[in-house]
Assembly symmetry: C2
Homo-oligomer: 289 residues x 2
């Protein structure tokens, strides 16, 4: 029998992110038991049926009662209310972490609900996902060779950070730590802005006449480009609102960039356009496969 | 032996588009011989080595001399000069077509070089491609189940349209005809604007400090979203310049759309954001797989 350092992990929110974490932890035997929690009983029943979790409770305070590690993977807008229920039920020494895509707002929520002196909360963000959502989209390999960013504050216990790091490492992820503000800036650029751009493109084309025909002639590049526009609207609303300053700053930068291209096109300045395209191609080829 | 209706096809520009057409036509035995033409002898030699073309000539007027069908697949900016050389060498009854991503400008170029009375020119656009370019990226299956749009004018011979349609059908493509102006509007939205947005995003992030780190934390969504930013800069400069009015109109539409989102974010209007995201997701899910 494997020796478990961790007995019980409680995962609140068993969608793509929480469900895939549960499956990965089960596969590696990281803990003995995984308890699911959430609002919707049918989802939790489905998660048990699929072998994603061992048991569940729709009452979050009860679900977390015996957990060593509590993972909150709910939309950012629900974070604070869930933290409150976690705080009402958890053991004093339980470690709490989350999987939200913005980190400064989550740290504020945690401080408000657990108290500023609470050093067992470790803000975290697995940089992984697909455009699909829900427990049926979950799979154990989602985090393999993907990055997970932890953003501890000066106050966070080193031992708690180590425990959360080990949990994510068990899923096959590479774990790094960084400052929450820096995380939020980086993700605004590489994830939040691209999602807005993709949602915006589809909505913009949807307003054209002959919209059916417009999409009928879309090629493979369009499918790839707009894939992230099939992401969960509520989750993305919450991400935008919770990383509002960084997202707005990135949108302004982008508006200036597009304005530069528009002016070049207006002036028939092909050299300028080629220069921008070539620089972008070079950078993209260097960073992506 | 197969009975060929077409003896010789001459393909000017044996990159991804021209090379893949050549391979597909060879596989199906659509014609007896494929002659390549282009500026760079090493590329044409490579195309012969790879079995893409049977023979070549770097002198376009000579290359087209015996061709039944002449396909011009060069960047839009080179179209007019190539048409001039084609006109100097082709048989009177030869059919000429192209594979450019904008159609009104190509029709103007054709009218200028072949004369407005010339009814054997059929403007065409295969809606297919990858972010890779050059003859080594060519493959015979590129056009299977993809759409090819032909944009004949009132002046174009029906028999010439039929011949070009049959050629593309031999590659496995579905061929449709539409008005050139309509084509240019549709493609500005589904292809030209997305390419500008992707080039713009990469260039915009490239100006950030810590650019290396920014790209290091990019997830799969970012890779998909920016794939088209690895496309050929000269080809895309030419597309933008040659479909300038439609691209600028689409950029303006898009700017308004993003402004709408920015205002919603500024006003903390989550309901508005969710509404846009939901509408976009619904449309995208309906049209794409």
């Amino acid at each position: 029998m494997a020796e478990h350092k961790v007995d019980i992990v409680c995962i609140i929110g068993t969608g793509l992110i929480g469900g895939s974490l549960a499956l990965a932890l089960k596969n590696t035997g990281f803990c003995k038991t995984i308890i699911g929690a959430g609002r919707t009983e049918t989802t939790l029943q489905k998660a048990v049926e699929l072998g994603v979790i061992d048991d569940y409770d729709t009452d979050i305070s009860r679900a977390v009662a015996n957990a060593d590690i509590i993972v909150v993977s709910v939309p950012l807008g629900a974070m604070r209310a869930v933290f409150e229920q976690v705080n009402n039920g958890k053991r004093d020494d339980a470690i709490v972490t989350d999987a939200g895509s913005a980190k400064q707002s989550v740290i504020q929520d945690a401080e408000a609900m657990f108290g500023i002196g609470f050093d067992q909360f470790v803000a975290g963000h697995p940089i992984a996902g697909t455009e699909n959502s829900g427990v049926t989209a979950a799979f154990a390999e989602l985090y393999q060779q993907r990055r997970v960013i932890l953003t501890p504050t000066d106050n966070t216990s080193t031992q708690a950070v180590d425990a959360v790091r080990e949990m994510w490492q068990a899923t096959g992820a590479e774990v790094e730590t960084m400052d929450a503000a820096h995380h939020d800036m980086v993700l605004a650029g590489t994830s939040h802005l691209p999602h807005l751009l993709a949602f915006g493109l589809v909505d913009c084309l949807n307003n054209l006449e002959d919209v059916d025909e417009v999409f009928r002639f879309a090629a493979g590049g369009f499918r790839d480009f707009t894939r992230i526009a099939s992401s969960d609207p509520v989750m993305w609303r919450d991400i935008c609102l919770n990383n509002r300053d960084e997202v707005m700053a990135m949108m302004k930068r982008y508006r200036d960039e597009m304005e530069k291209m528009y002016r070049a096109l207006e002036a028939n300045d092909g050299e300028k356009l080629r220069e921008i395209f070539e620089r972008a191609k070079k950078v993209r080829d260097a960073f992506c496969d």
